[in-house]
């Protein structure tokens, strides 16, 4: 050992740790090395929730069913809000299924740093693994709820002639991906900011609820076009709107499919995701000091 460092040393270093890194060095290759960890986290999330329950993953069905029924009673029957002539349960269930994927991802990723501080404080692995695992485990949950939706959907196709699926259905994987990444992008930005200032945390849970009412979940976009065309721009500015509308259009044949709006949502998601990555990457290095 010497602490003068005067001798020849030409071999390359495997890892150089500097206090600050360039904003574009995201070390994404490292993520790949930890892919097993990603899958184990997904498995952990999924397995641990339903240990010691009898119904297990069937519980995933309960929430969308009850919510659809409540929406049908309050907004459909009492409020008399139009559902574009569709069976109310199917209309609400369609929106809720996709919305849940977004909101679950957002809420769960938004406390990445604070909720995992005890692990992060003891061992290093690419922190992005955690929010990515949330996206994936929520995708599994979404898959199960999607099966429920498909069952209800098929039931209404057979028993009524109001449902008109069309070729837009091919867009579905893309729409789901977009929803997941939008939730992830917002989530990692919020989690990065809340490491130091917790103020935003108070906004998340009720902000997400407000956002739902600014998205066409409990009402069709056509209702806004019809009644308040001057405010439609605000609903459209919400990047979730066009995704939900396209999703509904694909399965139900009603709603508004607009590729210009969808392009906007795509661009919004991409830009937000990269901003999120950069902030997250900057914060992950030293958040332990402030969390």
């Amino acid at each position: 050992m010497n602490n003068k460092g005067f001798e020849e040393d030409n071999e390359p270093w495997d890892l150089v740790l500097d206090p600050k890194t360039k904003w574009y060095s995201l070390r994404l290759n490292e993520l790949f090395r930890f892919k097993d960890l990603l899958l184990l986290f997904v498995r952990r999330d999924f397995v641990s929730i339903y240990k010691q329950t009898i119904l297990g993953p069937l519980w995933f069905f309960v929430q969308p069913i009850i919510t659809s029924i409540i929406f049908a009673i309050t907004f459909g029957m009492l409020g008399g809000i139009s559902t574009d002539g569709l069976p109310q349960i199917l209309f609400y269930l369609t929106g809720i299924t996709l919305w849940n994927y977004f909101s679950d991802t957002l809420v769960k990723t938004s406390d990445t740093f604070t909720a995992n501080a005890s692990i992060f404080g003891k061992v290093y692995f690419p922190r992005l693994i955690v929010p990515l695992s949330v996206v994936l485990s929520n995708l599994v949950k979404f898959g199960i709820q999607f099966l429920l939706f498909l069952a209800v959907w098929l039931y209404y196709i057979i028993t009524t002639d109001k449902v008109h699926p069309n070729s837009t259905i091919l867009l579905i994987p893309f729409l789901i991906l977009l929803m997941g990444f939008l939730g992830l992008a917002m989530g990692i930005i919020i989690s990065s900011i809340t490491t130091k200032y917790r103020d935003l945390k108070f906004l998340v849970s009720f902000g997400v609820q407000l956002l739902m009412y600014a998205s066409p979940i409990v009402f069709p976009l056509s209702l806004v076009t019809e009644k308040y065309p001057q405010y439609k721009i605000f609903i459209i500015a919400n990047p979730i709107t066009s995704i939900i509308e396209a999703f509904k259009y694909a399965f139900l044949g009603v709603g508004e499919l607009n590729f210009f709006y969808l392009g906007y949502s795509l661009l919004f998601t991409i830009v937000l995701f990269f901003i999120g990555l950069i902030i997250f990457n900057k914060v992950e290095k030293s958040f332990m000091d402030t969390v």
Binding site: M1, D9, L17, P19, G121, V123, M288
Partner: protein, 426 residues
Amino acid sequence: MSKIVLSAKNISKQYRLGQLGTGTISHDLNRWWHKARGKEDPYLQVGDANDRTSKGGSDYVWSLKDINFDVRQGDVLGIIGKNGAGKSTLLKILSQVTTQTTGQIKIRGRIAALLEVGTGFHPELTGRENIFLNGAILGMTKQEIKNKFDEIVNFSGVEKYIDTPVKRYSSGMMVRLGFAVAAHLEPEILIIDEVLAVGDAEFQKKCMGKIKNVAGEGRTVLFVSHNMQAMSSLCKNGILLKNGTIDEIGDINSCIKKYNGLFNDSVIGTASIKDRLERANSTGNILFNNIQAFSNGQKSWDFKYDEEIHLKFDCEVRTNSHGALFYMALLDPITTDVLTNIKVIVKEGPLQQGEKISFSIIIPSKTLRIGQFLLYFAIGDPQTQKWYDIVDSNVNLPALTITASDSDIHSNIGVFSIPYKIQINS
């Protein structure tokens, strides 16, 4: 000479003291404003040295300041220092849990840190599932864990419960399982933080053996512990940290010697012991102010086997009391099991407030065998046997260290010499 596998240059780490809150944002804005104009961070120029006993004027403190060292392949480097000297901060930076404020670290090969055993264990998952999860968190791939799975289970000794959720495990079983996974990591550089302070004696021996093996295989180990015996037997080189700077670097034994010396001038000083008592929120009627150890009339915690051990205690009576009962135990430094104890009334009552009590315990020479002994002592009421003040191993007292004397070669075996008589019958 083997190649350098880890090189740290000018590592410094600054922390902000106090709570984060509304006041913090003004500093953040100021910092940002300086940066925007291309100036240096104004808060990097301030900051006190890392000395927790004195309260500095600045909101910022340098937990580490200008740390430079190189580690060569196959080195077992011991990092020692008092609580708060910056050991954990250094480990956190080396293991990438947090980042240094200034300086650069360069590493060759895979590095893994063991700052805690069983990181990320999920209580609902079974032992088997947690082995995979914990292994992956520490950086192993699924295939690597699969290959070593049987070995890990064997080492942990919890085969029977491997398919039971770990929430049903005893804390000892959790630790065993956690260490078993960690012990089967195979990084080129391994960082270990005092995880040996857990588990029973048998398991600790197993762990120490494992660490020795790791070092024997030519891998590099950075090891932090307060257990000087483990340090001197495992490590060749050492770094002694003091208030965030390197106080001594080089041979482990000279670091340990200097480390033990640190206590003689500060912690054993009257002020520090009083600090400790206030922190412990003690309401005792009699409190310890000071303890000093003398060998041959010199202040020292190092003794030769054939030297008398002289321990001097000073107490102060805070509230009128019946008398003073003194208790002292010698503990095994690894297991903290009581090896032997004494109980004696040092002062008959009644005692008046403000009265000082001073007494010495003298252990005859050739009583304690070679090794280390931790002190545990208390003062209490001789009538009710209630303890007013207890000084345990949470306080940074150095261990009594007994080394060999020239005159006796059998004194390195066992713990105590016993008094005996011999009777020759024919």
